[in-house]
Amino acid sequence: MSDAIKAATLEYATRLGDDALVLGHRISEWVSYGPFLEEDIAYANVSLDYVGRARMFYTYAAELAADGRTEDDFAYMRSDRDYHNLLLLEMPRGDFAYSQVRQLFADVYYSLVLPELVKSKDERLAAVAAKAIKETKYHVRRSRDWVHRLGEGTEESHKRTQKAVDQLWGYTHEMFDMDDTEQLLADNGIGVDVSKLRDQWHKDVSAILTEATITVPEDSWAVRGGRTGYHTENLGHMLTELQIVHRSHPGCQW
């Protein structure tokens, strides 16, 4: 592996880990606040899937870095500017409709990204993707069902779902941006060219929203910056909570 490719792969694995950890943590904020017990347990399972995915990406990133850092250092010892996750995933959990709409956008995205990543020439990335594909199949079914139920439920649930779609739509464009790092990896058969997935994502999400009687928004505004460390104010607050124990008691084991 050339130095350039290695550095890019390290950044890429970290990004994917950041995406998974940030979303996994956001979902975990529903634990004990779910609308009812069964959903509480089910959504916590999804959270665990994402946190598990983060661990696999960070473990690989730590191996590539080979500077003595571990997966924990990646998760707990980096500040918000070092996190390169997508902005969509760091938005606060909001109400239940908001969380499920964000979940749908993310799950459909991964249902397209992972089948590409599984073909990666990098065996480690391909192995993580192979495991995650099965989880994502289930996640999409869940978030699609919830958007249906909420969209076609009561007047109130429909209103909240539409509002969430309108509020989050501008954060979805960033998911399909490519930069030099990702382009280098895509050209070398290691990373996924996400810019090619945009049309299919739009088609899949539009079909689900339309069936749920939700209006698909026009593309108007777009927010970007997550991949370069420019975040919304929400990530810093989230990280303080996520990292406080580890940073307060360095090296603590129990």
Binding site: P35, F36, E38, E39, I41, A42, R142, D145
Partner: protein, 95 residues
Amino acid sequence: MTTEKLELFEVFIRSKRGLDHKHVGSLHAEDHAQALEYARDCYTRRSEGVSIWVMKSNDICASQEDDAESFYDPSDDKPYRHATYYVLPDPVNNM
């Protein structure tokens, strides 16, 4: 949201191929499809099963405690319903 508007479902899991589905518990859900997903999340987290059945608890017609006497007692004085009641002739060794 409360569980008042949800229905109660009974969950049956088959742990291995060839074995029976066994009743493992119940849960609340809006319909069969959702019940099946929650059954997966609530009852198969530790690889307990290869197949799940769910059914509405309301669809079960159950015997009542009060009926126990009329249901079960009459068979107490009918020992001839058990194979052990019969004395087998010697030539029949293996029954």
